[in-house]
């Protein structure tokens, strides 16, 4: 029984670590992975999601509705941001990096000035399940399922819908997409808006697990970038799933036996090693492997 509960607890830790990385990365998969914009305001978009959820929750909305509201509020904000600012920086990665950094400062400092140093936190929904001496949070189990569902939904949108096809065509070659009748301005705006909305959605989901403060976004930025970059651009969704699994496989046992801090150190070291060994990310490695398999051997 003792052994079994250790196994369950490690699996649970593995799941929560992976879900945390995926949730952090969700919006960035779209904005960095697909649109190739180094969006340093990603954490602040997540913060906006958490703020929206907290305000909606205080206004009396049930928490799941508050999460949906956050998705749409931050998504609309993203669309406006794309129209006014971001679209001027396509193809200029360093320009986009600086301008999104500026936006992140405006958002966090602006929130601090307008709404003060913190908002009331949202109580963690759901209770706990006891397994031996360990206690598993029901909410985190839900987050594991939701993060998996969100990634599957994103993959479906990207691979199976007309919007996804037009988005992929536009990101590969906008001029050719326009020459085939695609309204690329609209595709860019909707894609950025989707990425921002997903960041807001993740921020709202993670809000009950964090303190809701203007600078809370910073804790999400590093895991988000690490997950997307380690995943690579060949197949950004599969890459992010692969990298969050790999990184959690390293972080979980180290964290379990040596403490959370060393677990985080192990995650960063693992990211360094993986990028050194697979410079184009986990997904490029998968891609080569599946290309080799699909090609008939002569």
């Amino acid at each position: 029984m003792e052994d079994l509960s250790v196994v369950v607890s490690i699996l649970y830790q593995f799941g929560t670590n992976g879900a945390f990385l995926l949730l952090c990365a969700l919006g960035l998969i779209v904005i960095l992975g697909m649109m190739n914009i180094i969006n340093l305001a990603h954490g602040e978009l997540m913060m906006m999601g958490a703020y929206t959820a907290s305000l909606a929750y205080q206004a009396g909305f049930p928490f799941p509705i508050a999460v949906v509201i956050s998705f749409f509020v931050v998504g609309v904000f993203g669309a406006v941001l794309e129209r006014l600012v971001v679209r001027r920086f396509y193809g200029r990665e360093l320009g986009a990096l600086v301008v999104t950094w500026g936006i992140s400062l405006l958002l966090s400092q602006g929130t601090f000035l307008v709404l003060g140093p913190f908002l009331p936190s949202i109580p963690i929904p759901g209770g706990a399940i006891d397994v031996g001496q360990y206690s598993l949070s029901v909410y985190w189990l839900i987050l594991i399922a939701v993060s998996a569902g969100a990634v599957l939904g994103l993959a479906w949108l990207y691979n199976r819908t007309e919007f996804g096809l037009h988005a992929r065509a536009t990101m590969q070659n906008a001029e050719m997409a326009r020459a085939l009748g695609v309204n690329t301005d609209r595709v860019y705006m909707l894609t950025f808006s989707l990425g921002a909305g997903l960041a807001g959605f993740s921020g709202a989901l993670l809000a009950p697990t964090a303190s809701i403060m203007p600078f809370m976004g910073q804790q999400f930025v590093a895991p988000a970038f690490i997950t997307v970059v380690v995943g690579g651009a060949s197949n950004v969704i599969a890459g992010a799933v692969g990298s969050s699994v790999l990184l959690s496989l390293v972080r979980t046992p180290v964290g379990f036996y040596l403490g959370a801090f060393l677990g985080l150190v192990a995650l960063l070291l693992a990211a360094l090693v993986i990028i050194r060994l697979m410079p184009n990310g986990v997904s490029a490695y998968f891609q080569r492997w599946s290309d080799r398999r699909s090609r008939p051997t002569v």
Partner: protein
């Protein structure tokens, strides 16, 4: 087939880049069902004219009409939705998509309320798929196709949007003579079927195979216009374009 009405027209198109005149006073009338080649030496303004027709560049002055509608200020995707199909000189099929997905991009884009593929354009599209040998390659990633087949894929992609007119910029660049001949045959067949085609082309051998009428650009203006025989017999054209005295 000619004389059925003007499909594409330009009036006094002019475009400068800095102090350099790229095109000046270019007026063209392309009739419905015509197959027109636009030729000229390097720097004659062919690519600029093509970019103006596509909507990649805006002219400094002059106007462009499609079916008598002024499209001068319309972005390229709107012109495409009016029934214009474009391919560029450099190959631009989407390498990370497979053949089927490449062909589906324009379907959804142009198959909107404003323009849908008629039975006739469906036939043209099917014809191109089979004659270009793309039918059996639907799940192949575009990046694995050889060069000439990528160019053929691009023509098939454009046909999948169901256009009434094709604008092609050097569709046979980099092809072998056999592939060029095959491409010429396909374009001729499509034209016999009633599709209006405008080809900007450098390869005179290809032009001889397809063109009914040829427009010669020189120094940004229309220098001569006529049948391929008239054009090749024209002394000044031989001098500036064919490099013969």
């Amino acid at each position: 087939m000619n004389g059925a009405g003007t499909y594409l027209a330009t009036r006094d198109l002019a475009k400068r880049f800095g102090g350099i005149v790229a095109t000046e006073q270019v007026s063209l009338d392309i009739a419905e069902g015509e197959l027109r080649c636009i030729i000229g030496p390097n720097g004659a303004g062919k690519s600029t004219l093509f970019a103006l027709l596509c909507g990649i560049h805006r002219p400094d002055s002059g106007r462009i009409f499609i079916k008598e509608q002024d499209v001068t200020s319309l972005p390229s995707f709107r012109r495409v939705r009016l029934g214009v199909g474009l391919t560029f000189q450099t190959n631009r099929a989407f390498h990370d998509l497979n053949v089927r997905q490449n062909l589906e991009v324009p379907m959804g884009a142009t198959g909107s309320a404003t323009h849908s593929r008629s039975a006739r354009s469906e036939d043209r599209y099917r014809y191109a798929l089979s004659v270009f040998g793309l039918d059996g390659l639907r799940e192949t990633p575009a990046r694995e196709l050889p060069h000439h087949q990528l160019q053929w894929l691009e023509i098939a992609m454009v046909l999948s949007g169901g256009p009434d007119i094709l604008l092609l910029d050097e569709p046979t660049a980099g092809m072998s003579p056999e592939e060029t001949t095959q491409t010429a045959r396909v374009l001729q067949h499509l034209n016999d079927d009633g599709l209006t085609i405008v080809v900007v082309e450098h390869d005179i051998a290809f032009v001889r195979q397809v063109a009914q009428r040829v427009t010669v650009l020189h120094q940004g203006s229309v220098f001569a216009e006529g049948s391929i025989d008239e054009i090749t017999a024209h002394d000044d054209v031989r001098r500036i374009y064919l490099g013969q005295a």
